[in-house]
């Protein structure tokens, strides 16, 4: 069973110097935050100082990763290809004989890349340091006590329906910009009934099917409840159970 097919050639084992547990391959390939992150990994994995980067070797390994990602049809950001081109260019410039007189202005072709790697690594570490700071909601919680009653009662903001609708209009617009398809919704009476049924099931794990159809709601109520039940079943939130053939139907919440 080939791991991947690269340029028509089946790869049955990973290159030794790229060893990754095969089942973790995709996870690892997708874990890189971009070409600089990948390069940094390659350099560090060889215990090399960034300043001692061997462009030819790193380029080879980098390209193997790129091929691997393509072979696995992982989404490859354009930046990876730009970097591949840059690496190829640096490599070729390193091979060119230098002209003595040009040497003075000419920078080491690796310098810019090394500078970017060093720079990226600083911020990568800074991000880790930031993440390890104690922070609110995760490590620390504001100490609060109920304000005193008479004058304290913190006035709750009043929200107008219009504000709420406009906020939702914004959500819909953004959602539709992001994904081509339109947002669609079940009729609200159905959604509301879905919530009610779930709430009823919170209190009692199992409800007789018929208990969900109060008489006073008439035919319209029956329809709404039935649609809500179908939707709940479709979304795998409830299930209908029957003790024996022809027995009483019960509704049960899916999550135990």
């Amino acid at each position: 069973m080939p791991l991947a097919v690269v340029r028509g050639k089946a790869i049955t084992e990973l290159p030794k110097d790229l060893y990754i547990p095969p089942d973790a391959l995709e996870v690892i390939l997708e874990a890189f935050e971009g070409p600089l992150d990948l390069l940094l990994y390659l350099v560090r994995r060889q215990n090399l100082d960034i300043l001692e980067i061997n462009v030819a070797e790193i380029t080879r390994q980098y390209m193997e990763y790129i091929e691997m990602m393509r072979a696995l049809s992982l989404e490859l950001a354009a930046e990876y290809l730009v970097m591949a081109a840059l690496l190829a260019e640096i490599k070729s410039r390193m091979l060119l004989p230098r002209q003595a007189e040009a040497e003075e202005e000419e920078e080491d072709p690796r310098a810019e890349l090394v500078r970017r790697l060093l720079e990226y690594e600083r911020y990568k570490k800074a991000a880790e340091a930031l993440d390890s700071l104690p922070r609110m909601e995760r490590d620390l919680f504001p100490a609060r006590a109920e304000p005193p009653a008479p004058r304290g009662g913190r006035p709750e903001p009043v929200v107008e329906l219009r504000e709420l609708l406009l906020a939702f209009a914004g959500v819909i617009r953004r959602a539709e910009l992001r994904s081509a398809h339109r947002v669609h919704l079940e009729p609200l009476s159905t959604r509301e009934r879905m919530s009610d049924i779930l709430a009823a099931l919170e209190a009692r794990r199992l409800l007789p099917f018929t208990a969900l159809f109060p008489r006073r709601e008439g035919r319209a109520g029956v329809v709404v409840t039935f649609l809500a039940l179908l939707e709940l079943v479709k979304e795998a939130l409830v299930e209908l159970v029957q003790g024996e053939p022809g027995g009483l139907l019960h509704v049960r919440a899916r999550a135990a």
Binding site: P142, E146, P157, A175, S195, L237
Partner: protein, 207 residues
């Protein structure tokens, strides 16, 4: 668990919660091996109440459980904290509330997918504390995320008889872009908006 440690944990939880905590909820803070007996917990709460005697807050028992409450005698000073400006909710909170209202029952993940942005715990907490949303169940997937829905109090605040009174999506789509008050001041009057049955209605209250 030694008494002093138990007291610290209980006090920390009461301070962090900012709402009444039932004995069950307090017991739930401990892992099985370290969980105190109910009687032990109740004794600890009594000790804690004694600790707070004469201080700025007191440990009181209310219907929902135990909570720390700033003493009434401090109201003249503490009340001035909020004299100046009524708080406003963020746009993120309103969007979250709208998504819950229209798509309930939803998990936090559902909301994030629709909004395309992470939803902070604080927003969920504020909405729960305001009693506008509640947990109606859990989705049967790993992590068993809570399913949120709106409450009776939500309908009351917006003067709706039922969710069906909310305008349908098509109508909301037509709310023009320029109408979106990004940081606009709250319209001063009309706390209560007429039932939005007919679209014309709503637009009238807009002008």
């Amino acid at each position: 668990m030694e008494r002093a440690r138990l007291l610290r944990i209980l006090e920390g939880a009461l301070l962090a919660a900012g709402e009444p905590l039932s004995v069950e909820r307090l017991l739930g803070l401990f892992e099985e091996g370290e969980r105190p007996e109910r009687a032990e917990l109740e004794a600890a709460l009594e000790a804690l109440a004694a600790d707070w005697a004469g201080r700025s807050a007191e440990l009181v028992r209310v219907a929902g459980g135990y909570r720390l409450q700033v003493r009434a005698e401090l109201a003249p000073w503490v009340g001035r904290l909020w004299e100046e400006k009524p708080r406003r909710y963020s746009r993120a909170l309103l969007e979250t509330l709208a998504v819950i209202a229209y798509r309930q029952p939803v998990t936090r993940g559902d909301i994030e997918r629709v909004r395309g942005v992470a939803v902070s715990s604080e927003i969920i907490r504020t909405l729960m504390e305001r009693d506008w949303i509640r947990v109606v169940g859990h989705r049967d997937i790993p992590g068993r995320p809570a399913l949120y829905a709106t409450t009776r109090a939500f309908l009351d605040h917006f003067n709706l008889r039922s969710l069906a009174d909310l305008p349908p999506l098509e109508e909301i789509r037509t709310l023009a872009e320029e109408e979106l008050p990004l940081e606009g001041p709250p319209s001063p009057s009309a706390q209560v908006v007429p039932l939005p049955v007919a679209p014309d209605h709503r637009r009238r209250s807009d002008s």
